[in-house]
Amino acid sequence: MDFLKSGWKSVVGSQDGQSQPSVAETIEKLIERVQTSTLLEDRRDACRALKSLSRTYRLEVGAQGMETLINVLETDKNDSEIISYVLDTLNSIISGPIEDPIDYIEGSPNEKSEDLGQQFTEIFAKRKENVSLLIDLLEEFDFKVRWPALRLLMGLLRNKLRDLQERILANPMGISRLMDLLSDSREIIRNDAIILFVHLTRGNSNIQKIVAFENAFDKLFEIIAGEGYSDGGVVVEDCLIVFQNLLKNNTSNQNFFKEGSYIQRLLPFIDITNDTQWPTQKSTNVLFLLQVIRTLVSPRNPLQVTNSCQKVMHQCGVLEKLCAILLTSGVPAEILTETISTVAEVIRGNHHNQEYFSNVTAPSNPPKSVIVILLMSMVNEKQPFDLRCAVLYCFQCFLHKNEFGQAQIIQTLLPNSTDASGLTGQLLCGGLFSADPFSSWLAATALSHALVDNETQKEQLLRVQLSTDSNIGPVSLLQQCCTMLQQSAKLQTRIGLLMLLCHWLSNCSFAVTNFLNIPTNIPYLTSQAGLAESDDLEIVVQGLCAFVLGLCVHFNDDSIPSFTREDLCNLIIKRIGVETFLDKISSISKSEKYSLASQRPQLRYSRVDDVVFDYEFCRLFKSLEGAIIKAVQNKPDLTNGPESNMSAEQHRLLVQYKEVIRDQDQQLTSLRSELEKLRENFEKVNAELKEQSDTCQQLRDQNALLKAQKSSSSLPSMMSDEANISRIQDLKRENESLTKQVRNLQIELARYKSSSPPVPETKINIGDDEEDDSSSVNSVKKLSEEIEALKSELEKEREAKLAISAELDTATKEQEELLDLLSDQQLKATKYRKRLKELGEKLDDDGFDDDDEDIEATENLNELLNK
């Protein structure tokens, strides 16, 4: 304290002559100094003093100084010394004074201190910037800052997990920064970071997924390997707890774990069969490892995930290694128990794994199967309770959805089984009739698992004969069970046997018939169900007896005259009373033990005496309870009917008639139902026929359509099919007409070629194009364009030709006219000459003149022609 006082003095200043200042005043002054002082050193000293004070006066410093201290984190973040003081102070405020780091993790702070811490945490986390500030400080490499910042964050998380998780999630870099701490070379930071993740990943699937995304599995595996796997210290344990947090009930991460081939990386971990030393920490590590494996194949996971993980575990050898542990001596019982449960869940409902398991043998002489070895432990009183329960669980998982395995087990009980395989059956029977009630409960329950949902095996089991006493000869297993049930005074034995009977009789009329053939059974059941004892477990036994009786009613095929369905119903009404009977049945589901057992497949009992029900029985009960209640209440008015006051003879007759009527009724109903079925069938077939013919028609239409489409061009189908077809037909028509035109033009062209000079453009091979026409619209277009060009050229040619011929025509006409004219003139000339001759004129150059005139006329004509 002297040191403290001197500390205050140095900071606050000595106050000689005055009374000592109160703590509150001192703190106030220090805080004021932190707020107002401009000198870093002053602020630093004040913070140092506050740090010391906070150890003793947590409440006072926290209440007054929290805000100021947080401000320092922001404003003075470049000075690691002051930051370190502030962080230490805040740590004291949030988590209380810490002397030893171990305290911090495992210490149990008293309630008041915890409450205080929660309140301060609430204040701190109110501003989300505060948490971000802290996360930013984690980037500072300086140990003085990083470590207290990490511890502060951890303290906050411990006090207010949900709030802090939300705050950290809100910071996109938050988890990434925290992940970086796992790579810190300083072990103390790395190890504390792992513990931080233990808290951080608890119950928040979003954080779990981000942590996995940030390669947590890789990093943690590296750490685990570096520490030497199971031989590593508590760090390995912490890593495995993080694994478990990340995987539990998180399908996405389970998938990621499997897809990332991390299951394979567990292998070196499980390789412990050569180890002889088992220090406590090692056992703990292996236990946690086994629990990690179990989270991946838990019956609570989605079936798909469990199945695929089971498959990988078989393929990569995890299952093999686990089975090897089962056969290794010197493994601590605790680990052996957990391994048995792990193997159970790795094989549960997976046929391949179940088959592999059933073939595992111990290297003894002769080789014993692992199942035999486990069963030996189960029925051995000296083995620990948990181990025996685990074996039953393993056996149950081995037979879960495993018809083949069930048959295998029942087979070992049958007379023709070989010696080696008969061992399983011997063990089960030995257990069943053992003097130890828990052994017989376990064996009965194990045997019942071989019958679950498997009618064939229920009938097979009826064939089992036992030779208990050489004098009496063989007795059937069922008989022996019933005898045991009626003679035993031990509750657990009776409960076990009754549950076995429930499985055996359910859905198996043949077994019911066999059961009813043993005359003592029904009187025993009715007497038990009719008892009115108040002991908790006795009530359960009575309930079970009532349930077995109910099964005898419900699955009765009326083949035993005195114990038909109706007889039994009457018996219940007269001897027990329907109300009492129903009460007894419902007492099963009302029992605490029942709700405990129905929660999960694995037994969760802590003491031998607690064991009452098993999971599969609860399932069976749930599924049949309703049906049995209904079956028993089937004919409520039987006793009040008119038949109650009839003579025996009348009654006999009545019964006879009733039988006849019932038979007829049955026939009638069966015929009716058959008719109904046939009619339905007929209608169905009719409907189907119609449907088929419809589809046929549709298909035909489609076919036709497709054919049409196929034959047409592969035009990009922007329009509907019909439009396509019509368009194609149009195109076809167009094409035809174009072809025709082309031909016409060709003919014409040929004609003109002979009469007019050849045109070079007409030399295109029209014939070839014509062939392409039918297949390609494009070429049609091209062709038609060419044709068009050709046409126009032809037109031109024709026009020219026409012009020429017209000119020729006019010329010829003119020539003719001129010739006419000439002949006219000649005629006139000869006429005039004649007249001149007649008039007596002498014409000397008769011929010459004539010639002259001729020449003149020819010249005229020529002139005209040239024009």
């Binding site: 809100a170 996109p172 990434s176 996405s252 991460n253």
Partner: protein, 212 residues
């Protein structure tokens, strides 16, 4: 199950654009018509082959709802590739792309390959965003672009594989620092021993130096 490289992808975009369906179609080759809201983030994985090399894709399918936005942001930094998805039948999902892109650029490493995806291309009749608009947006922001249909599986394979090709090319060019797992790239187990050997890692770093 060995692989040469492992790439981490994230799928982002508005709610209901079909992110989970794209993933389901890619990993399981099936389509689920019922919209099952993603809570937080879901994981999926598949192996592909590029350039004769086995590449494992680990894909984190994020929730599109605003409430999960801050959670989604935590995934940007560690991803090598992002599929940014919008719905071609909903204009608003296209309009929000800028926000998504800003978010991605702000929180991711600068080399992250972003593939823009216009999903539901099977619903042509209800289309509100033209393919050209998507192309233009992608060009403007330097993204790869594709239109897909998670329903008909059209282009789904291509979208995931082309993104991987782009990342693979960037690795070949030495743009990515493959030894830093924070980039969302991991070298396969059978390759890592050769990588840690001196000559190869030396050449890798000189490659990187040459690039800078």
């Amino acid at each position: 199950m060995s692989y040469a490289y492992l790439f981490k992808y994230i799928i982002i975009g508005d709610t209901g654009v079909g992110k989970s369906c794209l993933l389901l179609q890619f990993t399981d080759k099936r389509f689920q018509p019922v919209h099952d809201l993603t809570i937080g983030v879901e994981f999926g994985a598949r192996m592909i082959t590029i350039d004769g090399k086995q590449i494992k894709l680990q894909i984190w399918d994020t929730a599109g709802q605003e409430a999960f936005r801050s959670i989604t942001r935590s995934y940007y930094r560690g991803a090598a590739g992002a599929l940014l998805v919008y719905d071609i039948t909903r204009r608003d999902t296209f309009n929000h792309l800028t926000t998504w892109l800003e978010d991605a650029r702000q929180h991711s490493n600068s080399n992250m390959v972003i593939m823009l995806i216009g999903n539901k291309s099977d619903l042509e009749s209800r289309r509100e965003v033209k393919k050209e608009e998507g192309e233009a947006f992608a060009r403007e922001h330097g993204l790869i672009f594709m239109e897909t249909s998670a329903k008909t599986a059209a282009n789904v394979e291509e979208a995931f594989i082309n993104t991987a090709k782009e990342i693979y090319e960037k690795i070949q060019e030495g743009v990515f620092d493959i030894n830093n797992e924070a980039n969302g790239i991991k070298i396969g187990p059978q390759h890592s021993p050769t990588n840690t050997s001196l000559p190869l890692s030396g050449s890798g770093s000189s490659q990187g130096g040459g690039c800078c």
